[in-house]
């Protein structure tokens, strides 16, 4: 790749701290703007107002918000992400185990969905116009239209209550090779299933339309006409071109890693980062909220950058860096 790519990546990377600065300030102010703070919530209704006031004074909560923000930012830049007021532990010690659970879950879901969805999406596209069409379209559309909130209790009813196949929820703390790998336990089957099925349906649906779009193009007809075997045409010409828009979807999935599974986690009692973030908002655990939002934003922007760069590699027509001047 030419040096244009390097400067493009550098320019994009340079934007990340700026966005983080805006996002962190907004989040920080919103946290302080909330009606009660953690001191009040933890002290309970019977605590003396003077005590609460003294603790606030000690922790600097009575200082102007911008002073608190500058202090937070200073600490953040020196690698001190703050303390969870609920768990009384450094933020990273609380967040990392929860993040690890969510990452395990999502990575497995992403791998499974893409391995299954791309072939069946392509397969369905190649059979367009046959009697299978309404069937596959329906099969892709319906699961993609059932919100997780509705699907989870119903699948629970089927698999746990009626068939007694699986444990009802929670997360296993099974360890393999000294690392927590709950994903390999029976408890992980239900969340993976609940998240993977709509994901497969959605990706397959999108893949189908993309492949159909490519199939109609001239170069595919040329490839067929010059006598290439059908499967060579599909693999070498069709799939490669159909993958382009699909990659964007992949980026969104990567980006949703931090909080995307919040509903499954809440419903099945999985102690992941989504559920944890919700808890942090409710207990006004300021530093945890900040850390989760910043982490989420960094992951989101990184995923988007990876997508754009991948675009440039797959499709030489995409000239990165020139798009910005437009």
């Amino acid at each position: 790749m030419p040096s244009g790519l390097a400067s493009y990546i550098i320019r994009r990377l340079a934007v990340i701290p700026l966005v983080l600065l805006v996002v962190s300030f907004v989040t920080f102010s919103l946290g302080r703007f909330a009606p009660s703070d953690y001191v009040e919530l933890q002290a309970g209704p019977r605590a003396k107002p003077e005590t609460i006031e003294r603790i606030r004074e000690d922790r600097g909560l009575n200082d102007p918000v911008y002073e608190q923000y500058v202090r937070y930012l200073g600490n953040f830049l020196t690698g001190d992400f703050g303390t969870s007021t609920k768990y009384r532990l450094p933020v990273e010690d609380v967040i990392l185990p929860k993040l690890w659970i969510t990452v395990q879950l999502n990575v497995v879901v992403v791998i499974i969905s893409w391995l299954i969805a791309l072939p069946i999406g392509t397969w369905a596209a190649l059979r367009r116009g046959t009697w299978l069409d309404p069937l596959t379209i329906g099969l892709f559309l319906v699961p993609a239209s059932i919100p997780v909130l509705v699907a989870t209790p119903i699948i629970q009813w089927l698999l746990v209550v009626k068939l007694s196949l699986l444990p009802s929820g929670g997360w296993s703390d099974a360890e393999y090779f000294g690392i927590e790998l709950g994903i390999f336990s029976k408890r992980a089957i239900m969340p993976v299933l609940i998240m993977a099925v709509p994901s497969i349906a959605g990706i397959a649906r999108y893949m189908r339309t993309q492949v159909i779009d490519v199939l109609d193009q001239d170069f595919v007809r040329t490839a067929k006409a010059k006598g290439l075997a059908a499967n060579v045409v599909v693999v070498r010409h069709v799939i490669r071109n159909a993958m382009l828009p699909i990659i964007t979807l992949f980026g969104f999935e990567l980006a949703a890693l931090t909080a995307g599974s919040i509903f499954v986690e809440t419903l099945l009692g999985i102690p992941g980062i989504g559920q944890f973030a919700f808890e942090a908002v409710n207990t006004r655990d300021y530093d945890v909220i900040m850390a989760v939002v910043m982490l989420g934003s960094v992951m989101f922007m990184t995923a988007m950058l990876i997508v754009d760069v991948a675009y440039g590699f797959i499709d030489p027509r995409v000239r990165l860096g020139e798009g910005l001047k437009e």
């Binding site: 946290g31 909130l149 119903i154 979807l249 909080a259 919700f278 908002v281 939002v293 934003s297």
Partner: protein, 319 residues
């Protein structure tokens, strides 16, 4: 957001196919008509809730809690004996209010105006609007929605009361009203970006066309060019994008209410689901989840089907 982009990639439909022509094409497709009928039925139920709901939304029948369907309660009751049919109808009202308010505020007012302006003015205006959009686009939406709704709730309620006292308009200060403003406000705040990008990309293509140049030459004001000349030509794509976004807004409202930070003091599908989950409920009172679940799935599915059909109609290559 990805839904808007997939629409944006569809080839641009020529200006000749106006809205009436779009409607004529829709009625020849049974799937599209069916989807519209489901959506209209649910929306009408919500709008007419005070007239058609057999029971009030807070009416309890404690002697008949958690019962399955019966002649007195057609879809059964929940733990407190709320009639589930009535609660669903009132929940539909919440969904309709939030969807329409978000559509008008985030989709039409913010999304369309900012998109038109960015595409037409270009330069600094364009840069400012699109970078602002980038910021909203690069944060985890659900987390920010959570934080905003949890942090601002009490303040907004207070403001609503004060505004109500000041202006003498009673309904603004009613309990729970503030949560409507908060929910559709935050959904709009994160929802306008996709629409604005779509409109902008179309306007960029159209702004150098003959009729826009001649309008500018004959001294038409920016506002007139934007709304009389450019807007009608992006209206078809806009209708598709907005239709698809309505399903997403409904799902988001359900999610927020489920977490307890959505609409307060009114029934919502999210609240109904929150009261229906848990292993014991799932085992013994399965109807609790089936009732709100069926309505939400019907609504989201219909919006998706309709969106598919509209995209089909508007993209010539797939016709």
């Amino acid at each position: 957001m990805s839904t808007f982009e997939s629409v944006a990639q569809a080839p641009f439909a020529p200006a000749a196919s106006g809205v009436p022509r779009l409607l004529r094409r829709i009625i020849t497709r049974p799937v599209a008509v069916g989807a519209i009928m489901v959506i209209v039925a649910i929306y009408m139920a919500g709008i007419l809730a005070p007239l058609i709901a057999p029971h009030g939304f807070n009416e309890t029948d404690l002697m008949h809690g958690n019962e399955g369907p019966s002649s007195a309660h057609l879809l059964g009751t929940d733990r407190l004996g709320h009639d589930l049919l009535s609660r669903s109808i009132w929940s539909a009202q919440t969904t309709v209010i939030i969807s329409v308010a978000t559509l008008i505020n985030g989709g039409l007012i913010m999304g369309v105006s900012l998109g038109l302006l960015a595409g037409y003015r270009r330069g600094t205006t364009d840069f400012a609007i699109m970078r602002l959009g980038d910021i909203f686009h690069s944060v985890p939406t659900i987390l920010l929605l959570l934080i905003i709704n949890a942090s601002l709730r009490d303040r907004v309620e207070l403001w609503a009361e004060q505004i109500s006292d000041f202006t003498g308009i009673g309904w603004i200060g009613e309990s729970g009203m503030a949560s409507y403003f908060l929910v559709f406000g935050t959904l709009s705040l994160f929802g306008w970006v996709g629409i604005a990008r779509l409109v902008r990309s179309q306007v960029l293509a159209l702004r150098e066309s003959q009729y826009v140049i001649s309008a500018r030459a004959s001294g038409a004001s920016t506002g007139r060019i934007l709304f009389r000349h450019l807007l009608p030509n992006v209206s078809n794509l806009l209708i598709v994008a907005l239709t698809i976004s309505l399903g997403g807004v409904a799902a988001a409202e359900v999610g927020l209410s489920f977490l307890g930070i959505g609409i307060q003091d009114r029934p919502t599908f999210g609240l109904m689901i929150a009261e229906a989950v848990g292993l014991q409920n799932v085992r013994e009172h399965t109807h609790l989840i089936l009732v709100p679940g069926a309505v939400i799935v019907a609504l989201v599915l219909s919006f998706n089907l309709l969106g598919d059909q509209l995209t089909d109609i508007l993209s010539p290559r797939r016709r």
